[in-house]
């Protein structure tokens, strides 16, 4: 599903983002990316969503070779990804249902199909009753649920979440995490960047820890090594 092979990324200003990073995330996996600010989490996510290109190495996401991605292919890649950010990034002058329907509209979905798909996904995130409300009238946790609903409405095989609980209190954080777990339970790959180690602990999910642009720990590798006879 997502494969990084010896990927390095140096930004035009000379800052090193990633150094020789390799990992593979198969279908259905839930992966935490952890590490301090500047460790390389955001670099990995921006490579996955096609915002940046690798300086060297190969990145493949849902079959797209990202090093050779043309500008015209970027929208096609993005439609195969659900993307959620710490700051929600909702359009504040549109209602909840319009925010979600918008993600369908831009992909050219049939107009008649939009309302039912929006309600379905709003029910999934537990906000069916808030369809006509504007984002400002919602709590942070609810706004993040709307953002997740928007990310899910196109049924993407991969959900990318960049610090999705960074702006939320403990209770809302738990709620969002449970929602992401449910989504993953349906077979969607979830890649979540976070520095909330309390959240990561004891979940049993794969953890990739980054430091200075390199992977310093990958529980996936450890598990694979442990499984060997």
């Amino acid at each position: 599903m997502i494969r990084f092979s010896h990927v390095s990324k140096t930004y035009p200003n000379g800052v090193l983002g990633l150094r020789d990073v390799s990992f593979h995330i198969p279908k259905g996996q839930f992966v935490f990316l952890t590490g301090h600010s500047g460790a390389g989490k955001s670099s990995i996510l921006s490579l996955i969503i096609g915002e940046q290109k690798p300086t060297s190495g190969d990145v493949r996401v849902s079959g797209f070779p990202l090093g050779k991605l043309t500008p015209k292919q970027v929208p096609k890649l993005r439609r195969k990804l659900g993307i959620v950010f710490q700051d929600f990034r909702l359009l504040e002058y549109r209602t909840v249902e319009e925010n979600i329907g918008f993600a369908l509209e831009v992909t050219g979905a049939r107009r008649e199909s939009i309302p039912s798909r929006v309600i379905r996904v709003l029910t999934q995130v537990g906000l069916a009753s808030k369809a006509r409300v504007y984002p400002k009238e919602l709590s942070g946790g609810e706004q993040q649920r709307v953002a997740i609903a928007r990310a899910l409405v196109n049924d993407p095989p991969v959900l990318i979440a960049d610090e999705p609980t960074g702006n939320l209190d403990e209770r809302a954080t738990r709620g969002i995490f449970q929602l992401l777990q449910q989504i993953n339970g349906g077979g969607t790959v979830v890649v979540m960047a976070t520095h909330n180690l309390a959240l990561v602990r004891d979940t049993g999910y794969r953890v990739i820890e980054l430091k200075g642009g390199s992977i310093v720990y990958d529980s996936g590798l450890e598990a694979a090594a442990g499984a060997k006879p």
Binding site: K76, R78, N154
Partner: protein, 284 residues
């Protein structure tokens, strides 16, 4: 279209500001155009008086003059040829030169010569053409002298050349200023919507999809700005006509000119959006 309308509803102040800035920029161009148009009209009014007069030697038979007149009429520069007899010249002088009425009344013989008045076609009312015609007319044996007001015709030529150059420079400067102002206004709109554009891109919108509403918005603002400019030009023209003595002699734009203002507004609205959104799409 609904996206573009949504922007108008959501940011009415910014939308009104951009329409006003397009309107006022085009209005300055329009005003300048009006001044230039009226100046040109005045100049061509003066130029109408550019004519060549050939004085005929006393005693020349009328037939000879008539035949020559026909030849002159065939010159490519000539619009009209008129023979003014000595008697007609005298009665005209009596009527026009009131101060000399007394002097002319007591004359025993007519001191004024007969003449041929040659009016030129509008495109030939300049010094060089008048001189060319004068030289050709001078060849006729019965022609005593040829006059075409050389000094003032040449001065008129210089004035026309200068007005053309100054008009072009100032007009271009106004157009550049208008385009810059409009570009900045549209850029502000785009920056204000940068967040929205990045969200559109995140959910997989193509550049064409994102650009569409901005282009419609640019075109609509351009049209409205153009119409506003036309309205302001008309209002200024009416006010000016009422408040000065020049009133009746002033001319306003033809419908074609007005359409051009609106088309120009539309074009800059479209270009402005295309450039500023295009630049932004490459950077997000």
């Amino acid at each position: 279209m609904s996206e573009a309308l949504r922007t108008f509803r959501r940011t009415p102040l910014l939308s009104v500001l951009s329409i006003a800035s397009i309107g006022f920029s085009l209005f300055t161009i329009g005003l300048f155009g009006l001044v230039a148009l009226n100046f040109r009209e005045t100049l061509s009014g003066i130029a109408e008086r550019v004519e060549v007069v050939a004085f005929v030697l006393r005693g020349t038979p009328t037939e000879a003059v008539t035949a020559a007149s026909q030849d002159i009429q065939a010159f490519p520069e000539v619009l009209e040829v008129r023979y003014v007899s000595a008697e007609e010249a005298l009665s005209r002088a009596r009527a026009e030169l009131v101060e000399f009425q007394e002097a002319y009344r007591d004359l025993e013989s007519n001191p004024l010569p007969a003449s041929i008045e040659i009016r030129l076609k509008p495109e030939f009312r300049d010094g060089a053409s008048a001189q060319r015609v004068a030289e050709r007319v001078r060849v006729f044996s019965f022609v005593d002298d040829v006059r075409y007001g050389r000094d003032w015709v040449e001065r008129l030529d210089r004035l026309r050349d200068m007005a053309g150059v100054i008009g072009l420079v100032i007009g271009l400067a106004f157009a550049v200023v208008a385009i810059v102002i409009i570009g900045v206004t549209i850029r502000i709109t785009v920056l204000q919507r940068a967040g929205e554009i990045s969200i559109m891109r995140l959910v997989g919108a193509t550049n064409e999809y994102i650009r569409g509403p901005f282009l419609i918005e640019g075109v609509v603002k351009g049209i409205l700005g153009g119409l506003l400019a036309v309205l302001m030009c008309w209002a200024t023209f009416v006010l000016f006509r009422k408040s000065t003595d020049l009133g009746a002699s002033l001319v306003f734009f033809e419908p074609l000119h007005l359409a051009l203002i609106v088309v120009f507004g539309t074009a800059i609205g479209l270009m402005g959006s295309l450039l500023s959104v295009g630049r932004h799409l490459r950077h997000v």
